[in-house]
């Protein structure tokens, strides 16, 4: 197939860093090609026509051209800048967490995943518009796990395969799922999970966002699922995420 010299890409800006004299290097998640890097010439000049469209978290349509070794942004038009994400530090922190997760788990040249792209855009919109980001972030975590191939097994025991009953269980990062109390006695490195928290995780796994939004979790369950999911992500990545620590420092 003939490769086009220049193409359009619906993108979300994940990160940027300075490059050369006045250029900027973007890390993007695009609908068409997944994660890509692209250079914006002159983006740090005050008169740049593109810089304003290319802040992190922005949903933007780009025209990308193949340069010698990097993609180069030739046109940029904002679809949604999610301006309220930048007006509230809590929202900025949650949006940064969402962005950090996809940045860590997506790899360049793995190809586009339109439904993951839509999930990302929808989640940023939800964090922006809703007064409480807990639900949007947890829902995103569960769905992201589906897309990257780490969907936790929550309906059968990840060790013996028997159906999980409605009682307090264990959760194993290594096995990637819930462990029934019987198997849990003999295994090590397990996290406890309350039946309520398990119910929420299951609910997120099989419901649409609108259905999931009807559930109202109490503070303990919210905290439990948050800590458990962050632990699971840290295990999968084999290193600490930056944003949870940042959010904690802001809260204190």
């Amino acid at each position: 197939m003939r490769e086009f010299h220049s193409f359009r890409a619906a993108s979300v800006v994940l990160r940027h860093s300075d490059w050369g004299e006045a250029d900027r290097l973007l890390i993007l998640y695009t609908r068409e090609r997944g994660k890509v890097r692209a250079l914006v010439k002159g983006a740090r000049k005050l008169t740049s026509r593109k810089a304003g469209h290319l802040e992190p978290f922005t949903h933007v349509t780009l025209q990308l051209a193949k340069g010698r070794d990097l993609l180069i942004v030739t046109q940029a038009e904002t679809q949604n800048a999610f301006p309220r994400l930048g007006e509230d530090l809590g929202k900025t922190g949650h949006a940064a967490y969402v962005i950090e997760l996809i940045d860590r788990f997506a790899y360049e040249e793995e190809g586009g995943n339109p439904s993951l792209f839509n999930l990302l855009v929808d989640t940023l919109g939800r964090i922006e518009s809703e007064s409480d980001a807990w639900l949007a972030v947890r829902y995103y975590e569960m769905r992201l796990l589906d897309h990257i191939g780490f969907r936790p097994q929550l309906f059968e025991c990840a060790n013996c395969g028997r159906p999980i009953r409605a009682e307090d269980q264990f959760f194993s990062f290594v096995a990637g799922g819930a462990i029934c109390p019987r198997c849990g006695q003999g295994l090590r490195h397990l996290k406890e999970i309350s039946v309520e928290a398990l119910k929420y995780l299951r609910h997120f796994q099989r419901s649409s966002y609108r259905e999931a939004a009807r559930a109202r979790a109490v503070a303990e369950v919210r905290h439990e699922t948050e800590v458990l999911m962050q632990g699971y992500f840290t295990y999968l990545l084999d290193r600490e995420l930056n944003t949870p620590g940042f959010i904690r420092r802001l809260r204190s």
Binding site: L46, T47, P56, G93, L250
Partner: protein, 201 residues
């Protein structure tokens, strides 16, 4: 081709600088080799002094000469010490000074909050700023961090911290740049330019 170690080590050292690739590095190295002794002597001296003869001002954390407790701006009696302009980097102070339009003092944060990079409030010079304001005499704090996601986050955080200290907190205006083009402006900038419009008298 094998190069003598002395040239190769210079090339390797130059390559570590931002914006300099292997080709530029070797060109610079060979230029120095051919140039007169003075050129390389001066360069070597300047490099050696760079770290040993500079220090941070203990008040505003701008860069100053070693051995001095305060920088020129902080020491000056002509500057208005009731206004503090908070910037990200020492280079921003230079940019503001070039305008000759500001007569207050500065505070250099030496960075900017970045959730994704994991740079939190404790990694910046925020505590010294709060201590400085708590000492009294400050009426206004101008937040002059960059108009970017990170700069805005830093400004928001500082506003929260400064609220209880009873100082006026302002943020640099945002709008259309000189020589800009309305057609290409992003929504965010245009909206702010509209809401911050000024009467022409």
């Amino acid at each position: 081709m094998l190069l003598p170690d002395s040239i190769q080590s210079l090339i390797t050292a130059l390559e570590r600088l931002p914006g300099i690739g292997p080709k530029t590095a070797s060109r610079l190295a060979f230029h120095l080799l051919r140039a007169s002794d003075e050129v390389s002597q001066d360069l070597a001296e300047a490099l050696a002094n760079l770290k040993s003869r500079t220090a941070f001002c203990q008040d505003c954390f701008n860069i100053t000469e070693a051995g001095r407790h305060l920088c020129e701006v902080c020491e000056s009696t002509e500057r208005d010490s009731s206004v503090i302009c908070v910037v990200e980097e020492a280079l921003d102070v230079l940019a503001l000074e070039r305008t000759h339009g500001y007569s207050g003092k500065y505070h250099v944060l030496q960075g900017v909050l970045s959730p994704i990079e994991g740079i939190g409030p404790d990694d910046l010079k925020i505590k010294p700023l709060l201590a400085r304001i708590a000492r009294g005499g400050v009426k206004e704090v101008i937040l002059a961090t960059n108009p970017s996601m990170e700069g805005d986050a830093t400004a928001l955080y500082l506003r929260g911290q400064l609220e209880s200290l009873g100082v006026k907190v302002t943020r640099l205006a945002r709008g259309l740049p000189v020589g800009g083009d309305l057609e290409y402006a992003d929504q965010n900038t245009l909206l702010r330019a509209l809401s911050g419009r000024q009467e022409m008298n």
